[in-house]
């Protein structure tokens, strides 16, 4: 046809442009794409007709590296995937290998793992809340969120010396014994934090501009969410009550009482509410866990050299961003034959196109923010 132009989209649907349509590129160096995500948008005026995410700018071949490292050597690598929730990544990997070995971490280790992972969930959600609000134009919540996140990072630092890429756990238990004031520090944080969440909510939850920018934006129905394989808060905001901590309890989650918050409309606002409520629930879990940390060893007896029997295992945990799964194949050597990782951010990002169609350019940043992606995990 004479009046159609073509672009470099590999996707046939986006290749042909109508007369009034333009293509713009967001990223990979855009302040609101949370790292090196590149989004190609086909626009009709300011309305998004079609979109395509281009990923891979941060690809490091984590899964391939695993095949050339021993089981213990690979553990620090997983911290570099979702680098804002390194503790959760480590937990998933350690538990997967333990399952492969048929070993189990001692009770003390499991409780401390739960405490640190829940703190990490709060830290991850805080980072999300701050940057999401910043994208929508609220400058101040970012600093409040970082103030509280700093407290969590201090606890993690006191425990293992590192703040971001922690390598906090070891296959079979814990890397380090908990330091003396861990309970006190966690308790103090949890006491303060209740009031702090209210502070964020005062700024945003009833704010008319915030409501206007998030309500009805990026709607994902329950069926769509399930079809796309979306997990975590994005799935729960669509009304599906699915949380691996309850469905297939790991670590010490079966000992604690907590609720799974769900949304109704599956829009950006519901996802915001779900995550804020999850922070409250994580705080409750931490408070319950520090009441009774069992004494005893922190490591199971698994030996120095790990040679799991021939076989395969899939183990998943509820990471802050969704289901984080590890599929490991062993050929009875000290190195895994194959490690395949199911990163929540990567799968959730696939819902982006469904969510963004028909919205305006200004909503694109809100939708990228609401999925809560970390590119280190998407690209691996």
């Amino acid at each position: 046809m004479a009046d159609t132009r073509t672009t470099s989209f590999p996707n046939a649907e986006t290749t042909v442009l109508g007369a009034d349509e333009i293509v713009i590129n967001m990223g990979p160096q855009h302040p609101s794409t949370h790292g090196v995500l590149r989004v190609k948008l086909k626009l009709d005026g300011e309305k998004v007709v079609n979109s395509e995410c281009v990923i891979g700018y941060l690809h490091r071949g984590v899964e391939k590296i695993a095949e050339h490292r021993s089981y213990q050597q690979f553990a620090p690598y997983v911290d570099r995937m979702d680098y804002v929730a390194a503790v959760s990544n480590g937990l998933g990997y350690c538990e997967a290998v333990e399952k492969l070995l048929g070993a189990e971490a001692p009770p003390r280790a499991r409780v401390i793992r739960t405490i640190l992972t829940e703190l990490q969930r709060i830290a991850s959600h805080l980072l999300w809340l701050g940057t999401h609000a910043l994208d929508i134009g609220a400058l101040t919540p970012l600093f409040y969120c970082f103030r509280e996140r700093e407290e969590i990072l201090k606890i993690v630092e006191k425990y293992c010396g590192a703040r971001l890429t922690t390598h906090a756990f070891r296959i079979g238990g814990l890397q380090y014994e908990a330091y003396d004031e861990l309970e006190k520090d966690v308790e103090r944080f949890c006491k303060d934090f209740e009031h702090k969440i209210t502070e964020y909510e005062d700024l945003l939850t009833q704010n008319r501009i915030w409501l206007g920018r998030t309500k009805g934006i990026g709607v994902l129905t329950a069926q769509q969410a399930i079809d796309l394989g979306v997990t975590g808060p994005v799935l729960r905001a669509s009304g599906v009550k699915w949380d691996i901590r309850k469905a297939m309890p790991y670590a010490a989650y079966d000992q604690y009482k907590f609720e799974i918050p769900t949304g109704r409309n599956g829009d950006t606002y519901d996802r915001y509410l779900v995550r804020v409520e999850e922070m409250r629930q994580s705080r409750l879990i931490c408070l319950q866990a520090i009441q009774n940390i069992p004494a005893g060893p922190i490591m199971a007896r698994i030996g120095k050299v790990l040679k799991p029997p021939v076989g395969e295992v899939y183990h998943s945990i509820e990471a802050p961003k969704g289901e984080l799964g590890y599929y490991i194949v062993s050929d009875a050597t000290i190195q895994p034959y194959r490690v395949r990782i199911r990163p929540p951010s990567f799968v959730n990002l696939q819902a982006f196109d469904t969510m963004v169609r028909g919205h305006l350019v200004a909503d694109v940043v809100a939708i990228i923010g609401t999925i809560d992606i970390v590119l280190g995990e998407v690209d691996r």
Binding site: A133, I136, G137, T140, L360, V365
Partner: protein
């Protein structure tokens, strides 16, 4: 020769005022930016600039020097002439608007009969600078930002103008000087007679100056820097200057029309004359704080600088105090008037900053909807309601106020609020999410 001197004599004082404004304003703008950063830091649990000078007091100077010596980039294929002229248009329009502003009872370059009209007209010219700059840059982001700015400024200027008319109806004159005098005669600021009008002007003026939550033209998370994207160095700082001078202009307009201009709070109540002691006392406190902090500065230069700032505050306190003496009564109103005027403008700008750090940003369609579907109708209804109230209780003299007029103004404002609530409810119902097939 004598004839020449005679010719220039009446123009000497206005020339001096103009010189003061043009020379001092960029400095004031620099320090407003510093205050803004400090206020922002305070609200965000941080310290803000602390490195350059004591408490960052020299930061504006350092920023200005940096901008001046930066490389001046003109994009290829840009329209050089327009690219060069656009920021000048913006900054000239912004500065010219101050010509008719009564900063104090005597501190006014020209008291025009059509003062407000002149100010509104001239400050609207600034849009040319924005549109031309965006167009001349030859960049998509700049053009998009410029068009957004133009659309936003034009649509909110109507609401702002309507809101100002409510003040004008009460005053019955366009002369900025007379408007303040009439407020003195009425014994009440127009803010209390036309609160709805004042509030509409507050919101519309934020939008007019492209400040958050209406800062879409420069929404950094979407459009990088809007019309200023391709500008750098000194040209960029001219745009920046224009933006902040415009803030001062809208603050001054609001102060003059609604907040009693240079008048002290309750100027006619003799029992409250002790308020006259507030300006010198405020300066004394500032000076005291400077001297208190001086020994704590780490470097000798910083000690000296802070002491100098303290001495400056002390000198200002002296001036503000001396004019209180009965012998200098003639100077009291001009000096104190300027102080009160600037204080009100800064308080008005503080509200701007406060909102900026609290609220998220509107989306463009929401912004337009707010402007055309809500602000403008409410402003028009407000003008009509106040006009009706004034017709029903025609004051004996311009600005004269009695209980009947006060009561009918109260009723008219309440009526406007009811209309506003109705519009808000209708708008809420109409704003359905725009999701669907494309």
């Amino acid at each position: 020769m004598n004839a020449l001197i005679e010719f220039f004599r009446p123009h000497l004082l206005p020339l001096l005022y103009a010189l003061v404004i043009v020379a001092v304003l960029p400095l004031i703008v620099g320090y407003i930016v510093l205050v803004e950063r400090k206020v922002m830091a305070d609200m965000q649990a941080r310290l803000g600039p602390m490195r350059v000078g004591p408490h960052g007091l020299l930061q504006p100077i350092a920023d200005a020097v940096k901008l001046l010596i930066k490389e001046d980039i003109i994009p290829e294929n840009a329209d050089k002439m327009l690219f060069w002229a656009a920021p000048l248009i913006s900054v000239t329009a912004a500065l010219l608007a101050l010509a008719a502003m009564p900063i104090g009872p005597k501190f006014q370059i020209a008291d025009l009969d059509i003062g407000l009209l002149f100010i509104l007209g001239i400050s609207s010219m600034g849009i040319f600078g924005i549109v031309l700059g965006g167009w001349a840059s030859n960049s998509h982001y700049s053009l998009l930002g410029a068009l957004r700015s133009a659309a936003q400024l034009v649509s909110y200027e109507t609401a702002a103008g309507m809101a100002l008319i409510s003040g004008l109806l009460l005053a019955g004159t366009l002369s900025m000087h007379r408007i303040v005098e009439i407020q003195a005669g009425a014994r009440v600021w127009f803010m209390f007679l036309a609160p709805v009008g004042f509030f509409i002007y507050l919101v519309a003026s934020i939008a007019e100056t492209n400040r958050a939550p209406f800062d879409l033209p420069e929404a950094e998370s979407e459009l990088v820097a809007g019309y200023m994207t391709e500008y750098s160095g000194f040209r960029w700082s001219l745009y920046f200057l224009a933006e902040y001078v415009n803030m001062i202009v809208v603050g001054s307009i609001a102060t003059t029309i609604f907040l009693g201009g240079w008048l002290r709070p309750f100027p006619n109540v003799n029992a409250l004359n002790f308020l006259d002691a507030f300006p010198p006392l405020l300066m004394l406190v500032l000076a005291g704080y400077c001297f208190y902090r001086t020994p704590k500065q780490p470097v000798k230069v910083q000690k000296g600088f802070l002491a100098a700032v303290g001495l400056l505050c002390l000198a200002l306190a002296g001036v503000l105090g001396v004019v209180l003496a009965p012998a200098a009564a003639a100077f009291k109103t001009p000096v104190h008037g300027t102080f009160w005027f600037l204080l009100k403008v800064f308080l008005y700008l503080y509200v701007f900053m406060w909102l900026r750090f609290t609220l998220p940003r509107y989306r463009f369609d929401q912004l337009m909807k707010l402007g055309w579907h809500f602000m403008l109708p409410v402003a028009i209804v407000n003008v009509m309601a106040i006009a009706v109230a004034l017709v029903l209780h025609r004051p004996r003299e311009a600005g004269g106020l009695d209980w009947g007029l006060g009561a009918s103004l109260l009723v008219s404002n309440a009526g406007t609020l009811i209309v506003a609530a109705y519009l808000a409810a209708v708008g809420q119902r109409r704003t359905s999410p725009i999701v669907g097939d494309v």
